[in-house]
Symmetry: C2
Subunit: 482 residues, 2 copies
């Protein structure tokens, strides 16, 4: 036992090591190539070629042992040239599975390197639901050939799977369903399963249907094994299973999986006809992807970026955000421009103004993050809005007095001007109050207009607290100090 | 069927509605109280009291029908006073489950409202692994009473569960394990299960142990139902199951669950003795919590904040971040202070300098987000560092020339000074290059020193690009324009 167990343990923990080993072999390989190249050796130098070949064999063996997800991980971590070298070594019949596992941007680099035949061969290894994930990245002619090669049931499934939005349950659905009838006994059901010989991944329940494939209930395997063999399926099946429709929003389905601790759930059409199922692994992938894309878009990256994408591709992925920020920065700059006369007279204002703007931005972002979270959880309504705004204003006021007071002291000690200190404190407090109000309002308004408040709120609040902070500070200073 | 199905469907989708209904009842309730109060009615006015009581009864019935997770959700969405009113209406025997579901900060408000006896009664409803989640929030004397009330096995389990770090597998583990021996046939095993009558939630496999509880393998229910009854457990069990140790890092376990599509997995001690299991719902909760706390800490919130926390509590939750930002803003301010002479001569510098600093910060954050992501996935190593830095520098250079060029034109058109435009362009390009280098280096260095790069990188990069941007722009301007 100890040995067997350790084998799996090492497999579990050695992903980083696998990557290191692949890199080491590639390094060796590169060294040899460099040698051959630099010293202008005859290319067919037998010894070199032998070592080279041995290297690649070693690498190929290594890759064959790895889980498709692990090969995908290694491909993502390699710069383009080496990535394609490794990709060539992967056995053709594994191409499909691995293409499913890599990120979108890396998948594109791999597909660009394959010809139509290779792509078709890779696609033919996949189930219909997996094909649906791959299809959008395939060249049109390959996709057409693929459609032609499918039987009518699978073609229909693929077409319908392709018709769902990425964020719909239909896009997460697979077709690995095992169905039974309600009027048989558990003994007959078990005999049927034994004849099947194996069950699809994640099968924790069978779907009970009538002869028109209308879903009548679900029979968890757990119930099959604890109940007497002579009871009928109808007696032990759960009739109140959570079901989904392909048009349901995937995020709601994910929440239902968490709330009701599901492993699989049936997907039915409007007539309650069973058409597929969702499994927890699809749901987990979905949750992970959502969290990732939230993080990326908060930093202004349009999509997951291949680490080794070309400079030009990366610039495209990032430009929109920089353009927006350029505009907001220009507005803030013009606000300062209004007070150039004041700054000329008291140049200390130029040095102090970014502090007021900056702290306002941070504080506003804290408020916005809270509100975005509350909106995502559906816990913010008109009913509790008033308490929320009151609280945020209280926090802003307290922070304004505390940090504004600290700043007043610092400004006084630097410029020996107590009036300047008082202006700092007043401006700070007012900008924090502005940040609190806008920090609540911006995500609420965005939400009201059907936009995702997680994506743009942070830019907007920073824009307001920057321009607002400069204006408040410079205006107060102009009134009281000039 | 249609009727039954729709019942569950409506349950699935009515969470928002449930919240609205509870709020509506509370509103009615408050109106009545206000009436009684304002008009100075005799408090015992019978009619009013009756309506009031009816209201609360209606609310209580509503709550009894809801899933504990749904009650938790409603409690979190209510301001403190109403939250406690609803909490009192929840049946005592459900208190424990609901306390487990609410967020940490809300749990504290609920526990503060309960006396020792109520807490002890709530805790006694829970399993040992659930108790371990609740224990840190219980008053010491209640925890002691609770320990005393447990039998020795459960006390030991609770103590060991409490000894694990929050981010260790031990903290996610539960003890709902069903074990069998390897030398029996499937028929005997199934008979045993039928005698048990039910299996714990999420049971997708049984754990095969010897008589010393040493784990020998796992027997998926799927295999039990497709294999012949006369084969032995040893013949069909999987010996190469993924196992975890209680000290394993929970995040690694979560990744293994995703990678190997697990639903449950055994947890063993150093001698391979089975001590518990992890289930996918614990893993999903963990992933969700991690993603949440990442988002919060990126915005400088120490922990999940109760929407209706007191102003003072919120200030405490947020002050550390504001203090750090105050310090970095002060440094930037002192950098500007160095060039007050230049600003006095060309006041346009004051208006233009925040643009250079701001765009640098945005661009640096894009780079940092990429690198933090790569580090989290373990895909960044010394091997690919060079390609990464080269690429980021290329992106920075291109962006600098493009956006710097745009800015140069704007500066020229505003101030009719082409030299100022050229200074803008040069400063922008240099600050973007600085942002690229630091955007790569900061998370790498933080990671090297064992700190989570997701948490502080964004503050640091912004600090560098602010101070750096001001310095670069003002220094170049001073050299070439003054």
């Amino acid at each position: 036992m100890t040995n067997r167990q350790e084998l799996k343990d090492s497999q579990k923990e050695s992903l980083g090591e696998s990557l290191q080993q692949v890199i080491a072999i590639l390094e060796k390989h590169r060294l040899i190539e460099n040698l051959v190249h630099k010293q202008n050796m005859p290319k067919h130098d037998l010894v070199e070629l032998l070592v080279h070949k041995q290297n690649l064999n070693e690498l190929q063996k290594k890759l064959d042992l790895l889980h498709p997800a692990d090969v995908a991980y290694i491909l993502e971590a390699l710069p383009l040239e080496e990535r394609l070298k490794v990709w060539e070594l992967v056995k053709a019949e594994r191409d499909g599975e691995i293409l499913l596992e890599v990120s979108d941007s890396v998948r594109q680099t791999l597909i660009a390197d394959m010809d139509s035949e290779e792509l078709l061969a890779a696609a033919e290894q996949l189930d219909t639901d997996e094909l649906a994930d791959l299809a959008p990245d395939l060249p049109k002619d390959v996709l057409q050939d693929l459609m032609d090669s499918l039987d009518s049931q699978n073609r229909e499934r693929l077409q319908s799977a392709l018709s769902y939005q990425d964020d719909a349950v239909g896009a997460l659905m697979d077709f690995d369903i095992v169905t039974i009838r309600e009027n048989i006994t558990l003994e007959v059901a078990l005999r049927y399963l034994r004849r099947l010989g194996s069950l699809p991944d994640h099968t924790d329940k069978l779907f009970v249907v009538d002869r028109h494939d209308i879903l009548l209930g679900v029979l968890p395997l757990k119930r099959m094994v604890v109940n007497d063999l002579d009871v009928s399926v109808a007696d032990v099946m759960a009739e109140d299973a959570v079901v989904f429709y392909p048009e349901d929003i995937a995020d709601d389905a994910a929440k239902a999986f968490e709330r009701y601790d599901l492993v699989t759930a049936p997907v039915v059409d409007a007539n309650k006809k069973l058409i597929g199922r969702i499994t927890i692994d699809a749901v987990m992938d979905f949750i992970r992807d959502e969290a990732d894309s939230d993080k990326l878009s908060m930093a202004g990256l349009r999509e997951e970026e291949d680490f080794f994408a070309s400079v030009w591709k990366s610039v495209q992925n990032r430009w929109a955000w920089l353009a927006i920020n350029l505009i907001t920065a220009l507005i803030a700059s013009r606000v300062i421009g209004l007070f150039e006369g004041s700054i000329e007279k008291i140049v200390a204002l130029a040095a102090l103004m970014p502090i007021v703007a900056g702290i306002g931005g941070n504080s506003g972002n804290q408020t916005t993050t809270m509100i975005v979270r509350g909106l995502a959880l559906g816990q913010i309504s008109t009913h509790n809005m008033k308490s929320l705004v009151t609280k945020e204003l209280g926090v802003a006021l307290l922070n304004g007095l505390i940090w504004g007071g600290v700043l007043a002291l610092i400004a006084f000690s630097l410029y020996n001007n107590y009036q300047l200190g008082l202006v700092m404190m007043a401006a700070m407090t007012l900008n924090l109050l502005l940040a609190a109000i806008m920090g609540v309002m911006i995500p609420l308004v965005m939400n009201k207009f059907g936009r995702d408040p997680a994506v743009g709120s942070s830019v907007l609040i920073t824009a307001v607290t920057d321009s607002g902070g400069f204006f408040i500070f410079l205006a107060i200073a102009t009134i009281f100090l000039i």
